[in-house]
Amino acid sequence: MSRTMTLGSALRLHSTPIVLSLVLVLIALVATAFHSSSFDRTVVDLLIRVVFVVGLYIFIGNSGVVSFGHAAFMMIGAYATGWQDCCSMTKSFFMPGLPQFMLDTTVPPPIATFISGLFAAFFALLVGAAIMRLSGIAASIATFAMLVVVNVVYSNWDSVTAGTSTMTGIPAFTDRWVALLVAVFAIFVAYLYQISRFGLMLRTSREDEIAAKASGVDVIGQRLLAFILSAFFAGLAGSLYAHFLGTISVNAFYLDLTFITLAMLVVGGMNSLSGAVIGVVCISALVEILRQLERGIEIGSASIALPGGAQEIGLGIAMVLVLIFRQRGITGNQEITWPLSRAMEKPERTRDVDRAQTTSPPPPASRWRHQSKVIKQEG
């Protein structure tokens, strides 16, 4: 950025996180105006999902490696929260395996949330140091294997996690505004990361791993950095979730969560921050609408209700349709900017490259050269 740039033009250049945050603020304000507790829950749920999916995006969107493992980081964050501020009276009864100093202390919720994120990030550092050496689908499977390992350990380590039964008594701390604050924080950090030199280096490796290496990018190190950062937000999301529901169980952080959040990211457009946020908003809205329809709506005197299960079928069909008609997601992998009409980036010309992708085997890394022009413009 040149020094002569005025504040106005700087804001315009970096309008993406502001616009996305405003969308979320608007949603939160609508929830305030509505005074409906069920709608309020939906909105808090949506904001927590935004934190998680933006975290997911930091890794997947920038590195191009699909991770199936981030639900594990969310679980680690949620349980770390439980260890810190759950049920001070009965802690030694439910979790006798915890070290004494943790049994004795009860951390205030905001600090507990932050520490939970750090804990998830630390775990990501340990695991990522090994599995970031892999690329492509092998890396995806390794993250999935990590998810299973963490899930099995937390399900059976009864003395610390209460096993498959629920951990209850976590103080309610997450409300609309807390969730909103963290979601906006996540969006800004993700944006700053992706325009930083680290983000750009990682994006280069996404487009062409070999060329990136040849240009001096430490691909493994950059991936690890993004993995840690994204695990931090997944951990924060887990902590917010624990502080929102007050109860957690291992089943909430497994395949269903993995798939629905990945779907949100891909449907929105997995290579742009806007895609991550818009994907969460659109899919959450769709689920909510279908849920209302399932409950039944009154039209005149007649009441129409969809049969049970129609919600999931509708969601699945909508997802497939979006992917068929917009293969690069709702946002087409571009960032939303202000003013909306003035797109900052030219459309990515990857159609012909996409074709090469399916009709010939991996490695995928070398097939996306055309996109590298776009990267330079983003900075």
Binding site: I141, F144, V149, V266, E312, V320, I324, R355, T359
Partner: protein, 304 residues
Amino acid sequence: MASALQILIDGISVGSLYALAALGVGLVFGVLRLVNFAYGDFITVGSYALIVPSASITAIMFIGDWPWPLLVIASAIIVMIVALICDFLVFRPLRQASPAVLMIASFGLSYVIQNAIIIIYNARPKAVGIWPGLAEAITVGDLRVPGLQVVTIVVALGLLAALVLFLRKSRFGVQMRAAAEDFQMARMLGVQANTVIGTAFVISAFLAAIVSLLFLCQVGVVSFHMGTQLMLIAFIATVIGGMGSLVGAVVGGYAIGIGGTLLQVMLPENLRYFRDAFVFGAVIIILLARPQGLVVTRAARERV
């Protein structure tokens, strides 16, 4: 000695089931680069095809009462039809999409199939017993092997041999191997893309039906998520075996089956609940040691 042999047979029989499922996943992955999450639901459909579609709590047998050759064929045909419809409606419009998009689309498809099953058959598991005769043990010396295990192993070996013959000798088989190696080049040499992909789906669906029936025979209960676990293991088997390599898929399937069974026996009592953690930890280690999988194909080798 006998018990060691027994454990080995256990492992091989579990591995046979995984290997068949892994082949089904691997065949479609080879030609389409599609990680098909809906494969698990093809397996589920194979079992649900046996009973009358109704929301009643008890299962009413329909195809399930037929003599076994008819039963197998009918179940396989139904799964094949479902697979071809899925290909036509979902994957054909996505031929040019990236693997990540294909994968998420198959997940959406899986979601739709599972919930359609819930609406039609209701979400509760239903007891469905087929071929009770297979539960009887065959005794050889002091070795007692359940008939089902023998049948599973024999069926798996037979199908593997048939598949090898098909892939090496038949026109479609050769085309399919060519497409798995280099789809673009194969098309230029006159291979019909949709025919090859269709054939892959049909064979993969046939394998799903067989896996489904063997698995059903073992557990005796149909449920809408019965295929999910099998699909995940099959998928992992194809990856540690070597992406796109069918030999690798089989090796991977047997490795997971035998490894898992051995761990179950060898782990000390208090760690046995953590068995899956060890299995999947081993998966990570195998991948780190051999990122391309145990069997490396020419197509998977890195090209600059």
